[in-house]
C-alpha cells in the first residue's frame, strides 16, 4: 500500500498557531463547530505535498492543525486563504495588535487570495456571515 507523503512542515510552531486563535477567540464566536478554514502558503501552492494550516471550530473553540492539501477537488475546508509566508508570519506575531485586520486588508487588496470552497448558503449556516462581510468580498472586481 502506497503511503501518503508527509506534509512539508510550515515554518510556524503549532503552539503559536493555537495561541493566535486563543488570543482572538471572540472573532470566531459566531462560527459553528465543524467549520474549517484553511491557510495554504502561496509558496507551496503548486506543490503536490503541500501542507496547509487548518483552523477547525470545535465545541471547545478553534483548534489549529496541519493537514495535507489534497487539491481543490478534495479539500475539506470552507474557505481557503493563500497567504505568503510573510503574511503568515505577521499573522502569528504576538506583537501584532491587529493580525486579522492585516489579513483582511490583504484579502481586500487581493494580495492574499481567498477561495470560497463552500456555497454561500452553507457558509451562512456555519456562521460565517459577519466574517465574510468584514472582508468585503461580494462586490469586488470588474463590477465595482
Amino acid at each position: 500500500m502506497q503511503r501518503t507523503p508527509e506534509p512539508e512542515p510550515l515554518q510556524l510552531d503549532p503552539a503559536e498557531c493555537q495561541a493566535l486563535l486563543d488570543r482572538h477567540a471572540p472573532l470566531f464566536a459566531g462560527i459553528k463547530a465543524g467549520a474549517r478554514i484553511g491557510l495554504l502558503p502561496e509558496e507551496n501552492f503548486d506543490s503536490t505535498a503541500a501542507a496547509m494550516l487548518v483552523w477547525e471550530a470545535t465545541e471547545q473553540g478553534m483548534v489549529a492543525a496541519y493537514r495535507r492539501f489534497p487539491g481543490f477537488d478534495a479539500v475539506e475546508v470552507d474557505l481557503l486563504f493563500i497567504p505568503d509566508h510573510e503574511t503568515l508570519r505577521r499573522l502569528h506575531d504576538p506583537a501584532n495588535p491587529l493580525p486579522f485586520a492585516d489579513l483582511k486588508r490583504k484579502v481586500r487588496r487581493r494580495e492574499t487570495l481567498l477561495y470560497v470552497v463552500k456555497p454561500r448558503a452553507g457558509l451562512l449556516d456555519l456562521g460565517y456571515e459577519e466574517f465574510l462581510d468584514s472582508l468585503g468580498l461580494t462586490f469586488m472586481g470588474a463590477c465595482r
Binding site: 487581493r110 462581510d133 472586481g141 470588474a142
Partner: protein, 658 residues
C-alpha cells in the same frame, strides 16, 4: 453637431458607417452590460422586459446588443435568476418582438449568447468550468470540470442558440468572455488548468474560443456578423491569470477566426481592482482599446469601459482608438443621452454616477434599477409615466435636494406651476456636503446638483434660495399654493444622544459637511453610517485626528452593498480608529464617554464632536404646516432617512402622481 454647450463637434460619433454589410447610422453600440433580471425563472421574456426593450430601441444607438441569453436546457450557463434563454425554438416568438423593436428604432440588432461558466448554474448545485478552481467570491456554485463531450455539446448549443437568434430576426450575434464567464474561463490561465488540448499554452486555451467562433459562424452564415467580447486586461495576473500580452494574443486568435468585431472589456468579477466604479477616472482604460486597434487595424473595435462621456468617446473615435463607442450604464441613467448629444443638449444629461445600484440589486437576485433613472424597470407601469396633469396646480416644494428637485421637474413637465424653496444658498441639499467630502470622484455626485440647476433654468420653474419655510411664512402666502411637498431632508437625531455639556464644540454632520462650521484637530464622529464615514475619511485626509463611534455592531449599515467594502478599506488605509457596538453616555468638554457591548466604559478625548447618525425625518415641519395648505405631501429623507436612490425615486413618483 455640438456637445450642448456649443463648443465641441461630435461629428465622429454620429458618422454613419458600414459594418459587416450593414448600414449603421452612427458609431454607438448599446452594450449588453447587464442582465436585467426582469424575466421568468424559466427563461421567457416578460412584458416588463419588452417595455424596457422599447426604451432601449429608442435610444438612437446604431447597433443594439440584446442582453445575454443562456444556451443550454440544463441551465449550466444560467448566471442570473431572471436571465432569458434561447435553448429551444419555443423562445423564438419573443425574440422576434425584441428584434422587431430594435429594427423599428433604426438599429442593427445583435443577440448575445451568454454561458456564465464559473458564475453559472444558478438554479443547480454546481457550475461548469475547464478545471475545478473554486471561486473567490461567495455567491456562486461549486465547480465541476467540463468533459470533452460536454465541451462539444456546449459549442453545439451555442451555435444552435445563435441560429435561433438569426431566425428570430437578429442581424448578428455576440459571444462574451466578460467578467469571467465560460469563454473567459477557458482563455484564462487562472481557471484553465487542463492538461489536454484545451489547456496549457495560449493556443490550447484559445481552442475552445476558436471552435466556438467557427461553430457559430457556420451556423449563422456569412451575412450575419459575429461579435466577441474579450478582456484587454483580466486584472487577474497577480493570481496566475492572463497578462495583457496573452489577452491580446487571444484577441488575434479570434480575429484570425473571422469574427466581425471585437469588443474590448476589462476585468473579472473576481479581480483585485475596480474597473467601472466611480473611483476609476473616466478614460482610464482607453489605452487597451487603442492597443487592440493598433494590433488589428482592420478589425472593428468596440469599447466603452469607464468611458461615460460622449465628448471623450468622440475624441477617441477621431484619434482612431476604436471604431464604436460601446455604452450601457450611461444609457440606463439617461436613455436620451444619444439624442441629447445629437441635439446639442448634453448639459441636460443625467449622468451615471457609478453608484452601482444596478449591480447591488443583481447580486441580491433582484431586478436591476438605477439611482439616476427612477423609471428604469417600470416602463410597463403607467403610473411611472409623465402624463399631463388633469388639474393644473400651484405647487410649492420645500427643499432643493434630489427629492425636491426630482418632484419639481416631474411636476413641471406635467404642466403644474412649481416653486422650490430652500433655506440654503445652493441647489443640491445635503448631497452637496456629501459630494464635497467623497473621496472617490466628487464630480459624479456634484453633477447631480448641476443637472438640477440646469433643468430648473431650462424648464423655467423658480427656485427661491435662502428662504426658510415655516408656519409664519405660510400664513403670509396663504392660498397662493394648492399643494406643498416637504422634501427638506433628514437631520441627526439629537434626542438619541446625551445633551452636550456647556463648552463642547458639538456640531451636526450636515453643518460640517456644508462648511458652515470648522471642526478642531481631534474630532469624534458619532455615527458610522455613510454620512459619518464620508466625513471622517475626508477630515482624516486633511490631517484631523478622527475617531468614529457607532452604536451598531457593524459600520456602514446604510451604505449601498457595492460601496461598503470601499469605506471599510478607506477606514483601514487612513488609520481611522472605530468603536462599534458603543453607546454614548456623556458628551463633555474633555471628550466623549462611551460604553461598549460588554459594559466597559471609555473616555475618548476630543475638541470637537460631530453628530452624524442616527438620522430622523422632518416630522416637525409636517406638523407645523398641516393646517396652512390644502394638500401636504412629503418625499425623500424628510419622510424616512435613506439616501440618494430613494430620494430620487420618491420625488419622481410624487411628481408623477400630484
Amino acid at each position: 453637431m455640438t456637445d450642448g454647450n456649443g463648443e465641441q463637434p461630435l461629428s465622429h460619433l454620429f458618422e454613419p458607417v458600414t459594418w459587416a454589410g450593414f448600414d449603421v447610422k452612427n458609431r454607438v453600440k448599446y452594450g449588453a452590460c447587464c442582465v436585467s433580471n426582469y424575466n421568468t425563472r424559466d427563461g421567457f421574456v416578460t412584458e416588463r422586459e419588452l417595455a424596457r426593450t422599447k426604451v432601449i430601441a429608442a435610444t438612437g444607438c446604431g447597433i443594439i446588443t440584446n442582453q445575454g441569453a443562456y444556451p443550454d436546457p440544463l441551465g449550466e450557463g444560467k448566471g442570473y435568476l431572471g436571465q432569458i434563454a434561447l435553448f429551444d425554438d419555443k423562445f423564438i416568438p419573443q425574440f422576434e418582438k425584441v428584434a422587431g423593436y430594435i429594427h423599428d428604432g433604426g438599429a442593427v440588432a445583435v443577440q448575445q449568447i451568454l454561458h456564465a461558466g464559473r458564475y453559472g448554474g444558478i438554479d443547480l448545485g454546481y457550475c461548469l468550468q475547464p478545471s475545478v478552481v473554486p471561486q473567490t467570491l461567495p455567491h456562486f456554485r461549486p465547480p465541476r470540470e467540463i468533459t470533452k463531450e460536454q465541451i462539444r455539446e456546449t459549442i453545439r448549443l451555442h451555435a444552435e442558440a445563435a441560429k435561433r437568434a438569426i431566425k428570430a430576426g437578429f442581424d448578428g450575434t455576440e459571444l462574451t468572455s466578460f467578467m469571467g464567464y465560460l469563454l473567459a474561463n477557458f482563455n484564462s490561465r487562472f481557471t484553465n488548468r487542463r492538461t489536454d488540448e484545451y489547456g496549457g499554452s495560449t493556443a490550447n486555451r484559445g481552442r475552445f474560443m476558436r471552435e466556438l467562433i467557427e461553430a457559430v459562424k457556420e451556423a449563422t452564415g456569412d451575412k450575419h456578423p459575429l461579435v466577441v467580447r474579450l478582456n484587454g486586461a483580466e486584472l487577474m495576473d497577480r493570481w496566475g491569470g492572463n497578462d495583457e500580452d496573452e489577452c491580446f494574443e487571444l484577441m488575434q486568435q479570434a480575429a484570425q477566426c473571422g469574427v466581425d468585431m471585437i469588443s474590448v472589456t476589462v476585468g473579472w468579477q473576481e479581480a483585485p481592482e475596480s474597473s467601472i466604479g466611480r473611483d476609476v477616472p473616466p478614460g482610464h482604460w482607453n489605452r487597451l482599446a487603442a492597443r487592440a486597434k493598433k494590433l488589428m487595424p482592420d478589425m472593428p473595435i468596440a469599447f466603452g469601459v469607464r468611458l461615460p462621456s460622449p465628448i471623450m468617446a468622440d475624441q477617441c473615435l477621431a484619434e482612431g482608438q476604436f471604431d464604436f463607442w460601446e455604452v450601457c450604464r450611461p444609457l440606463l441613467a439617461d436613455p436620451e443621452l444619444i439624442r441629447k448629444a445629437a441635439q446639442a443638449r448634453l448639459d441636460e444629461v443625467r449622468r451615471c454616477v457609478g453608484s452601482l445600484n444596478c449591480l447591488s440589486r443583481m447580486f441580491r437576485d433582484l431586478p436591476y434599477t438605477c439611482t439616476m433613472n427612477p423609471a428604469l424597470g417600470h416602463e410597463v407601469e403607467p403610473n411611472y409615466r409623465l402624463t399631463p396633469a388633469t388639474r393644473r396646480k400651484r405647487i410649492m416644494i420645500i427643499g432643493a435636494g434630489p427629492a425636491g428637485m426630482e418632484c419639481a421637474i416631474a411636476a413641471t413637465k406635467r404642466g403644474h406651476h412649481v416653486v422650490v424653496f430652500d433655506r440654503e444658498s445652493r441647489i443640491g441639499g445635503s448631497l452637496l456636503g456629501y459630494a464635497a467630502h467623497d473621496l472617490a470622484h466628487k464630480d459624479d455626485l456634484m453633477s447631480v446638483a448641476e443637472h438640477y440647476r440646469v433643468m430648473a433654468a431650462k424648464l423655467g420653474f423658480e427656485v427661491r434660495l435662502g428662504t426658510e419655510v415655516n408656519a409664519k411664512m405660510m400664513r403670509g402666502i396663504l392660498r397662493q399654493f394648492d399643494a406643498a411637498v416637504i422634501a427638506a431632508g433628514a437631520r441627526p437625531d439629537l434626542m438619541a444622544l446625551p445633551a452636550p455639556e456647556p463648552g463642547v464644540s458639538f456640531f451636526s454632520a450636515p453643518d460640517v459637511a456644508l462648511g458652515k462650521v470648522k471642526p478642531g484637530r481631534r474630532t469624534i464622529v458619532l455615527g458610522g453610517g455613510k454620512v459619518g464615514l464620508t466625513l471622517a475619511e475626508s477630515l482624516r485626509t486633511s490631517g484631523t485626528d478622527v475617531v468614529v463611534v457607532e452604536r451598531e455592531r457593524r459600520l456602514a449599515g446604510d451604505v449601498m452593498p457595492t460601496w461598503k467594502w470601499r469605506h471599510t478599506a478607506w477606514i483601514e488605509e487612513l488609520n481611522i480608529p472605530t468603536m462599534t457596538d458603543c453607546r454614548v453616555v456623556r458628551i463633555a468638554g474633555e471628550g466623549v464617554t462611551v460604553i461598549d457591548g460588554k459594559g466597559r466604559e471609555t473616555v475618548l478625548a476630543a475638541d470637537t464632536v460631530i453628530a452624524a447618525s442616527p438620522e430622523r425625518g422632518n416630522q416637525e415641519l409636517f406638523t407645523e404646516l398641516e393646517w396652512s395648505i390644502d394638500e401636504l405631501y412629503g418625499c425623500g429623507d424628510a419622510l424616512v432617512p435613506r439616501g440618494l436612490t430613494q430620494a430620487i425615486r420618491d420625488g419622481y413618483r410624487l411628481g408623477c402622481w400630484l
